[in-house]
Symmetry: C2
Subunit: 164 residues, 2 copies
């Protein structure tokens, strides 16, 4: 693990605080998870999560303000409001599934039911792994921190552009 040392001064500016703000709050996380499951309407979130009305209302406002959910009028009934994941919200899927898989592995020893599968062939998705630029799986001991200036622009762009 010693190779994995990051200078102290950088620990505040690494992007985790924002992610934590969204994912670190239990109800926000559960709302997000329901949104990934196709839940869109206030009353449906209420039913599925067993959450208090005022808390749900508060968290939905925060998720919309944070650009994770988009509040819209339904196409088929303009009086109804629906909450959909934005692209930014959809991009939370790898983090959410990595957390879920970890919980399954250590909380239960078997995957939860139902199982998330590839729609194309119905086979369960693979464990989420850390990959090198050429797709090799990288383990914690095989990682090292480098200054951005030592990395080429092309390499860095890959980390912030939309998925290939």
């Amino acid at each position: 693990m010693d190779k994995l040392h990051e200078p102290l001064s950088c620990q505040a500016a690494c992007g985790l605080p924002l992610a934590l703000e969204v994912m670190g709050e239990r109800w926000s996380f559960m709302i997000l998870r329901a949104a990934f499951n196709g839940v869109r309407h206030f009353e449906d979130f209420l039913d599925e999560l067993g959450i208090a009305r005022n808390i749900l209302s508060n968290r939905l406002v925060r998720l919309v303000e944070g650009g994770i959910l988009k509040r819209d009028h339904c196409a088929d009934d303009r009086r109804r409001v629906e909450y959909c994941l934005t692209l930014k919200g959809q991009d939370l899927l790898p983090a959410m599934l990595a957390l879920r898989q970890w919980g399954e592995k250590y909380a239960m020893g078997v995957p939860a039911n139902p199982v998330l599968c590839d729609a194309r062939d119905g086979i369960p998705i693979a464990p989420i792994t850390v990959r090198a630029h050429d797709d090799r799986i990288v383990r914690p001991g095989e990682l090292v921190w480098r200054d951005r200036l030592q990395c080429t622009g092309h390499d860095l762009d890959a980390l912030v552009k939309s998925d290939a």
Copy 2:
């Protein structure tokens, strides 16, 4: 997103609550992150995180009880205590990096400095993605929930065994 619907009754038993308990609390997360960065001693956590002594003490106990960190006497100085990541703790790396990458992408538009690289070639790691069993990248709209009984044992084992 409609394909991604999970029956309500299963939402409580999916393994997320355990993961949330560990990752969802801001200080626990920051302690874990420091541990991934090679921090091992109480006083070093204290210095690096700017955390109150009693909170650090409390969170370390909880992380040890949760099997995420192991409390040990240093090999070179038996009077000193060190906290190291267990295998269960190390397995949180994909989730932690997925969260970090998301925060980088949306909070700053550029990766934080320093950049986490593959030690072998010094090139930044790839964005964390969701993969099918045959390693194809799968997107949110290409996922479907299936009952465990419809999946073969082999497929399910892949999700809970140690990384290949």
